[in-house]
Subunit: 722 residues, 2 copies
């Protein structure tokens, strides 16, 4: 079978003018440390043969011996011809010498397989820093160390010990993995799903060139239709964001399995390397903003990438599903609901057309059970598929019919009819197998013979992948701002940071920034307290004002339901109590504010400065229920009114704001404006701010009003409040 | 390769004395309608050969011709030897005649492949009823109609057109499917996971013998270690429950993929057959009670059944995971958290023992990354596995190391070390492959050669399956009551049903049953209202009392915050307003009850009589938040205090009851007793009650009290209230 196009058609190095082309699509490679005694040498050199590398390979070793048929040299300098990449597999003790040799030979790229660096704790990290510094001083870019390398499969240029899975299939997706072992296993799974690989990379320690660099390269690579990433952390977030934004502009999907979400994984990572895996909610929000598809298993990673690699953007949100099995149709209806896939009921015109070719009872339905009749009369498929594909709102058609995997397995005539039907369909079409299975040469023979579209296996996984592919397709047109990254940016200009310590300071600052804040007064004497309460008329709350007291309630620093009559004695008593309990604390007086007891929805609005991804806005709903129900949404900064309204709309408690059970609806635009003002006010405080939390922000038909505010700072500060 | 034990060891028909043994493990089969022109005949007869059926096969057709080497007869009567099963494949018009022939020949079991019955709407259903009635009158049990039959694989007795997947593996699990096409595809998937099948059944229309019957048979079948069920509905719930309870007693897992959960599936089923798929929350509660493992994909169905088929009950809740890949360890930590699998940190003694054989940094961790060192030194596995297996709290050990699937693939020496280590481990051990893959003869060769344990593929799916297997293992010891099934039971004896119409009736009934109910009085005049309010002292609520008025608020029938001073005028005004708006309604007066405004948690307590599964108790928490957050639990009746306390504890809002943010904790035993009293009171109302809902049941540190009650009845009644 000749499935792969003529390799001469694949002139990637000529087409791709990316700055890293000489590394990622090399035409000549020196294997430094090549020896027939090394299993690595065998793995690496087998790849050259398996893939038909058309460039030059030089074996470099102390004796200058040729290895496995490739000419030998005792150093790179001796080669006497241009070399794109030096692939270094020598022991750690002589890696520096190898770099010197590369430099002397004018080789600009090193791939370093040798381990014992950043992955081995602090001492290894220091060695790695020194190694990379040396390479930089020599003008050499480094992939690795501690990497199995990469296979540019579509470009026929393997620089890797990761085995090539055969037969090589027409390129579709790239795999980028932080783990070498996983890269190889994920590549095998992709192959079992008949998904061709354009590129497989194991990033190793990312001492110099990173995962973001190779993603950026692959975004520009025409042979790569989708990029599947298996990663534990992202070491250069700005570069990653830039690559992801370019990918979205080019409508090239990035699918990402980011491991290390769990508490346990965080604990393990800390034990190993002290590394911070980051907050998963934050990363989810970043992916949402960037249009990166998040997945949670290696299979899903490949299923989604393979689907979009085959179909490209899916033009509409509806799925048509056709099967001869009622059971499969019901299973798909369930999975579609689980994964948010819309199976629109057939429009009347479609139902009428279907009625002309099908038993009556089936005509209006999607998923469509065309019943075993299609086995006796396979042309039914040919008549039905175009009708379903042309129905209103349909972006993708999935046909459930087994593709053979066993020699001698009976091949339903329906496959030929399906292949004929697909020829005339412009929209994406796939075949969906009921259960997960491995496709193989037998499958490929049927696919080629009948002209079948992309095959996916396992209905549940297929529907999950379709849901994510449709989501991505809806994102590529969106015009969204890039991340603020204030965490790493310059200090805010408007406000000198770290002067906000107490609730009073925070509320005053927010009011100055245009945030609606509850009326409040700082009082410093019994007389002022009584006067303030008198001015408000109704009941008031009295709260101790101190930059040094975090939890006011614990020291008797909050008293509710006071009036001008009662507040005087309470003021004296509060100050006395707090001073005796916290003699260390500076007391500025107390805050007097009106009690709010009319029905209102309590929101939590929190701005936080993530150490990796910068400013993040979180909105939660339901007062004390927020923490129990986890009803909160996070998005990266910046935000505008419409983004905040979207966030609010996605909260489960959102109906509470819209006039639930007879209460007056909240003005959502005004609420969003208040939240945007809070977020911008927080961002203006610059990178030293760790978080600014408003809890609660009260929202009712009557008013929107921040009642309390708390700021925390990255360095240990003294300004917090409850 | 001779993987299957000698068939002579498998004398199922002798061992199994189940009443359906002559059907499910036949020693002689007449294929009625056998002809070489029929593809069905070819499929069916190929199975006899593929599996090595040791019994007699007779071909029955009009001409009495032998077929594919089996002797021919023109009728069953002519055979002249005992026949266990008549497998009927003749056209619908002559099925009745075939039954007469079976009866005449003394054949007690018919498997009817012929379609056109219950699956084809009302007329087909009538035909099916007639067919089954005829069979009954002839003393014949029927499997089908519209069935592909079943393969008793372990018993070497196939009565089916479902292909046998070869090579036949040692039996482990049974597959029972309502869909014939799905049975075949699920069986193929199981085979690809190296999971042997004991039995594969396609139930078809279940006209007589049902899915529950075959499950009951398989629970008794020693060759079946786990039962995987793919079903759309359960037509005989009492029998199903009995089989499931027997399975739990025998520690034989039932894993169930029940399709038709979604709204869309429900709509499709209604369009096809008018069938009621049932409420998924109710079925989930039934499975929880019965210890049935629910799954949501065909792959999960087989993964879980295959795991438990291999390991049996898992003796402890902790998993040990060992890999040479840090990435795999992190992925497993994430998936474990997703699926509720506990990976206990190694106890100090274990860590110390590991420290003696491993690099320091790895010793305390689980999942345990023993690093690539184990490739260079495979004996590391042999030293590490027993230490991990013997750690405190560990019930299962999973080892992540690739098992080959390709001829000529390099086989790590680690596999031999793993095999050696496993020999000494008493606890269950599995191999976990990073990605999903199909195991094959090459894999089986390694498994046999190295003595490897059960292999699972795809870490995410493996962890999900482990989570469910561990849950099941924790359930088999539980002593739980059977379902009440009151919906189908006799009318309750204590109370004549359907006399509860108004809120007053309901609250009075509940109070009589020992439920704590808010103090309330029925008043029929302004003077009585004033007197009642005066007796309570504080503020009261006034609610119209009418058996005919459902939504009191809509007709001005609820007024809050009244006192003895204000209630008189309001009473007159309310009765006038309600009478003018609802002149049809009988008005019994109004209810006066105290206002409750002290802080309390609102619960919803609802009893409902499910048409399939009988009495169900639902508890929700959070007042109006219940419906937005979906924070509710359902369990089948009966319940006791401890069951209700379990339910409450599983609500996300449960901390609200335990003294959240300074409020006094609720007496949970007292709360549970109140809920049990409500549930029992409702159940006593018998099968005509559709539902009884208490909303809210107020719970605080001060009191537990039902404030309102609403009863609805299966036949259209007039008693509802709001």
């Amino acid at each position: 079978m000749s499935i792969l196009a003529d390799p001469r058609d694949v002139s990637i190095t000529e087409k791709n003018s990316h700055p890293l082309s000489s590394l990622f699509a090399p035409r000549s490679i020196a294997l430094v440390g090549a020896t027939e005694k090394s299993i690595w040498t065998h793995f690496i050199m087998r790849n050259f043969k398996d893939i038909g590398f058309g460039g030059e390979v030089y074996a470099v070793n102390r004796g200058g011996n040729s290895v496995l048929g490739y000419p030998g040299f005792s150093s790179c300098r001796e080669i006497g011809a241009p070399v794109d990449v030096g692939f270094i597999t020598v022991p750690k003790s002589v890696v520096a010498d190898a770099l010197d040799d590369l430099a002397a030979a004018g080789i600009a790229n090193a791939v370093i397989l040798t381990s014992g660096y950043g992955e081995m704790g602090e001492e290894g990290a220091r060695d790695q820093d020194a190694l990379v510094a040396k390479a930089r001083s020599l003008g050499i870019r480094v992939w690795g160390p501690n990497t199995l390398g990469f296979n540019n499969v579509a470009g026929r240029a393997p620089v890797s010990a990761i085995p090539i899975v055969k037969p090589v299939l027409p390129p579709s997706i790239a795999i980028v993995s932080q783990s070498g072992a996983s890269a190889s296993e994920i590549a095998e799974y992709a192959h079992s799903q008949n998904i061709g690989l354009s590129f497989v990379a194991a990033t190793g320690n990312q001492g110099d060139i990173t995962m973001s660099d190779v993603i950026d390269y692959l975004v520009d690579d025409e042979q790569t239709k989708a990029i599947a990433v298996f990663a534990e952390n992202i070491c250069d977030p700005e570069k990653f964001v830039a690559a992801a934004e370019k990918a979205r502009r080019k409508a090239k999907p990035i699918v990402m399995l980011k491991i290390g979400r769990s508490e346990l994984a965080g604990a393990i990572a800390a034990a190993h390397t002290g590394s911070l895996l980051g907050n998963d909610g934050v990363f989810a929000a970043v992916c949402e903003r960037l249009g990166i598809i998040r997945v949670f298993s290696t299979e899903e990673l490949i299923d989604v990438a393979g689907l979009l690699g085959a179909t490209g953007p899916i033009p509409d949100a509806g799925l048509s599903f056709i099967s001869i099995s009622g059971g499969a149709c019901t299973l798909v209806a369930d999975s579609a609901e689980d994964h948010g896939v819309d199976l629109p009921a057939n429009d009347p015109a479609t139902a009428q057309k279907l009625g002309e070719v099908l038993p009556d009872f089936a005509a209006g339905l999607n998923p469509l059970d065309i019943t075993g009749a299609a086995i006796r009369d396979p042309d039914l498929f040919e008549r039905v598929i175009p009708i379903m594909a042309n129905a209103t709102g349909i972006g993708l058609v999935a046909i459930n019919m087994p593709v053979p995997t066993m020699d001698g397995q009976s091949v339903p005539a329906a496959l030929a009819a399906i292949g004929r039907a697909c020829k005339s369909i412009v929209k994406p079409v796939i075949m969906a197998q009921t259960c997960a299975k491995a496709l193989n040469d037998t499958s490929r023979q049927s696919i080629a013979e009948y002209g079948l579209p992309h095959v996916m296996t396992g209905l549940e996984g297929t529907l999950r992948a379709i849901g994510k592919a449709i989501w991505w397709s809806s994102q590529i047109e969106r015009d969204l701002p890039s991340l603020s990254f204030v965490a790493k940016g310059e200090t805010g200009e408007k406000v000198p940071t770290r002067n906000l310590h107490s609730e009073y300071d925070v509320l005053a600052y927010l009011r100055g920034c245009g945030v609606p804040v509850v009326a409040f007064e700082l009082v410093t004497s019994r007389a002022e307290a009584i006067a303030a309460a008198g001015r408000w008329g109704g009941e008031v709350v009295l709260k101790i004002a101190s930059p040094d007291i975090g939890h006011k309630t614990e020291v008797g620093g909050v008293r509710l339901n006071l009036t001008a009559d009662s507040i005087g004695a309470v003021f004296d008593e509060m100050l006395e109590t707090v001073r005796s309990l916290r003699p260390d604390a500076a007391i500025n007086g107390a805050i007097v504010a009106p009690m709010r007891s009319d029905p209102a929805v309590e929101l939590l609005v929190s701005y936080s400065n993530d150490p990796v991804w910068g400013g993040m806005l979180t909105i939660g709903l339901g007062g004390s229920m927020v923490e129990l129900m986890g009803d909160a949404m996070t998005v990266p900064m910046p935000v505008d009114r419409s983004a905040v309204q979207d966030m609010i709309g996605k909260l489960r408690g959102a109906p509470l704001l819209k006039g639930f059970r007879g209460s007056a609806p909240v003005d959502l635009a005004k609420l969003a404006d208040a939240i945007v003002a809070i977020a911008n006010a927080a961002e203006s405080l610059g990178p030293e701010l760790a978080s600014l939390e408003i809890n609660p922000l009260l929202a009712s038909g009557l008013r929107i009003e921040a009642l309390d505010g708390l700021a925390t700072w990255h360095e240990k500060g003294n300004g917090d409040a409850d």
